[in-house]
């Protein structure tokens, strides 16, 4: 029963990525001070702490953990958030989507943390599909049960004050929460030499699959042969985490979501359902040209779940501007939301009648013959930009029930 703690990524030169920089401090510095206190607190709870060397890159860090994982271990990523609006605050625990067991554990960990540090606000346990890129590698790509814990927002003065003045309380509460979590994992993880993972049902496009899947650490895994049925090329499914049980290979079900497969979990019958209706019928959902799938009312309702002040008339203007030049209004919307943090900055609302056609025209000018969001040019250098737009588009389509 050990815990791996990951606090950030460095590079081979030993440079530590500082993360957000606010008021003379950085996320990396704050987390380092917290971990200094977390070590003794975990020792008091009799939980061994393992930390990958700081100079490792994120991928190397994951591999470091992977190489040392034993049954009963858990891994946690500690992060601090930053946002354009300083009033945004609170702690969140991200878990791998459609894992009810991990969701409950994330929730319990947050409760322990909030109880131990009065004044800390919790934003709840959230599936990693709600993160900016639509997936968190730390939650998805490790064999060990893992959580990504956002302890608060460095940009919020109250959270910052708590982080700086209540480090001991935070470390003690976190250590208690981690011990509780690891105990829970030890109870639920089978320990024989060849673990006997619980079997689950698998349904593919409405048809029962003849072989059972497995529930491994609460994550649904499906037989790898399903990828052929779904027409996923080996290249496309290369990034999907696998688990080998004897000679059989299983694919992580939620990992297939990155290949545009819709994944859902039916708790009662313990069945994972995979379907590809949307992509089979509609093709590339992130195409830049042609009509979008949402209505103005749907766009407004979705935007208001993120930003209650989103103006009601903006979606109509956006649809008109997009239709005038033949571009996909859903992409224009997602790009606008990403670029402005849902209109928090860089978008003077009174200039919407001019800015929206400009944005639509910029998409229309993309030269590729059948362009998708991969061809988008970010307003500022950001290699993840297309993936961020695509992740938000995917969330919009999940909200609309297209996926």
């Amino acid at each position: 029963m050990r815990v791996f703690v990951w606090t950030g990524a460095g590079d081979r030169a030993g440079f530590q990525n500082p993360g957000a920089i606010v008021e003379g401090t950085t996320a990396a510095a704050e987390l380092a001070l917290l971990v200094e206190r977390l070590g003794p607190a975990l020792r008091a709870e009799q939980v061994p702490l393992l930390m990958p060397p700081a100079a490792l890159t994120f991928r190397e860090g994951l591999q470091w953990i992977e190489d040392r994982t034993e049954p009963g271990d858990g891994a946690i990523e500690l992060r601090l958030g930053a946002f354009a609006r300083p009033e945004v605050r609170g702690a969140s625990a991200f878990f791998i989507a459609i894992n009810a067991e991990r969701q409950l554990q994330a929730d319990v960990l947050l409760q322990t943390l909030v109880r131990g540090v009065p004044g800390l606000v919790q934003r709840g346990a959230r599936p990693d599909t709600e993160s900016a890129l639509g997936r968190l590698a730390f939650c998805r790509d490790l064999r060990a049960p893992s959580l990504s814990l956002e302890l608060g927002y460095l940009t919020n003065p109250r959270d910052r004050e708590l982080l700086q003045t209540r480090r001991d309380d935070l470390a003690i509460a976190l250590a208690a929460g981690l011990r509780q979590w690891l105990e829970d994992l030890t109870r639920t993880v089978p320990r024989p030499a060849v673990p006997e993972w619980p079997l689950i049902g698998v349904v593919v496009n409405g048809q029962p699959w003849p072989e059972a899947g497995l529930l491994i650490h609460g994550n649904a895994y499906v037989p790898a042969a399903i990828a052929d049925r779904l027409g996923l090329s080996p290249k496309r499914r290369a990034g999907v985490p696998q688990w080998r049980v004897q000679s059989q290979i299983y694919l992580q079900a939620i990992g297939l979501r990155d290949c545009d497969v819709s994944v859902s979990w039916e708790k009662q019958s313990r069945t994972v359902s995979l379907d590809t209706v949307a992509t089979t019928c509609l093709g590339e959902l992130d195409r830049l040209l042609g009509p979008g799938l949402s209505t103005a009312a749907q766009l407004t309702a979705f935007a208001q779940t993120e930003q209650p002040d989103w103006p009601a008339d903006l979606a109509d203007r956006l649809l008109l501007a997009s239709a005038a030049v033949g571009v996909n209004h859903d992409v224009v919307f997602c790009q606008l939301a990403i670029d402005t943090d849902f209109l928090q900055h860089s978008f003077p609302r009174e200039e919407a009648p001019f800015l929206l056609p400009q944005r639509a025209q910029a998409l229309a000018d993309t030269t590729s013959p059948f362009p998708t969001v991969a061809a988008l040019v970010p307003p500022q250098p950001d290699p993840d930009y297309p993936q961020k737009v695509r992740a938000l588009l995917r969330r919009l389509y999940e909200y609309l029930g297209v996926f």
Binding site: N205, G206, D275, C281, L289, G326, P369, V402
Partner: protein, 305 residues
């Protein structure tokens, strides 16, 4: 009482018992086979005429099946409803949806109840164009029309457009042509501007009526009733031609057209199934062209009661 008489009575009693058990068993099966209302999806297009006729004439109700028609306007919505079991069948799938369903339904999601071989102008698909050498082509923003269209016109510059916007865009000169697997909003292609182009110069399933396989297995009698009702509709369209077009009212819009009824009268199945070898060959060809990811096994998919 003689021993022989005793045994005779025992045998008779056992026989009566078996008979009663058989009757009870059958009635239990019938009582158990109560699917309630049976939702069947349809496209609001003329190709659903046999279904609409059977509904209008009360054929399903007469046979003891409570069929509830559910309209769909997009391939995706209809396919999702079928895959997730919100409808038990579809009455008329156009060509693009047929390709999607043969992909999604592989290997065993549904049974084909009837097929509509191809369009009256003898092509599965079509191109409406304002010039003989179109370069800017519109296409529905769906996977199969674009995939097939790309094979036919590899050098075209494609403009995804809703089908409803195709003719206005042509008239405004935004595109030179529109390639479609399904009829345009006018209900038919205009012959003066149609260039027949097809990947499949033989017989092919241009549309189909189908039922979910698990519904057929779970409720064989109810499935048979739905199929018989559909058959009655097909027979009426073949027998009465133009007169049946009145059944489109409330379901689809179409002008009374002799050519349309000639086409619609070609609905076939399931008893007897015509030779399906050419369709199977077309399915295999679509697979070889990379349009269908799997070879559809039409022999297996046909409804056989």
């Amino acid at each position: 009482m003689s021993t022989a008489g005793f045994y005779r009575r025992q045998v008779l009693r056992a026989g009566a018992g078996f008979a009663l058990a058989a009757i009870a068993g059958r009635s239990w099966q019938l009582a158990d086979e109560n699917p309630g209302p049976i939702p069947i999806g349809y496209w609001p297009s003329a190709s659903g005429l046999p279904f609409f006729w059977a509904l209008q004439q009360g054929e399903f109700a007469r046979l003891g099946a409570t069929v509830v028609p559910v309209p769909f306007r997009s391939t995706q919505a209809a396919a999702a409803a079928l895959v997730h079991g919100r409808v038990m069948g579809l009455a008329n799938t156009p060509a693009a949806a047929t390709l999607a369903l043969l992909t999604l339904g592989h290997p065993d999601l549904f049974r084909i109840v009837a097929v509509l071989p191809r369009r009256p102008n003898m092509v599965l698909d079509g191109l409406v164009a304002t010039t003989q050498t179109p370069t800017r082509l519109g296409v529905a923003p769906e996977r199969f029309p674009w995939q097939v269209g790309q094979r036919l016109f590899p050098k075209a510059r494609w403009v995804p457009l809703a089908i409803a916007d195709a003719l206005p865009a042509l008239q405004r000169g935004q595109i030179d042509g529109f390639y479609s697997l399904d009829p345009l909003a006018t209900g038919d292609f205009q012959p003066a501007t149609t260039l027949g182009r097809t990947l499949l110069p033989g017989e092919w399933v241009g549309g189909m009526a189908l039922l979910r396989r698990d519904f057929c297995d779970r409720y064989p009698t109810a499935a048979q009733r739905v199929v018989t009702g559909f058959q009655e509709g097909i027979a009426a369209v073949q027998r009465e031609g133009l007169r049946t077009l009145t059944a489109l009212t409330g379901y689809a819009r179409s002008a009374p057209d002799l050519r349309l009824t000639v086409w619609l009268s070609r609905w076939q199945g399931p008893d007897p199934w015509p030779a399906i070898a050419p369709w199977q060959a077309s399915g295999e060809r679509l697979h070889r062209l990379g349009i269908l990811p799997h070879v559809p096994d039409l022999y297996r998919l046909l409804y056989r009661g």
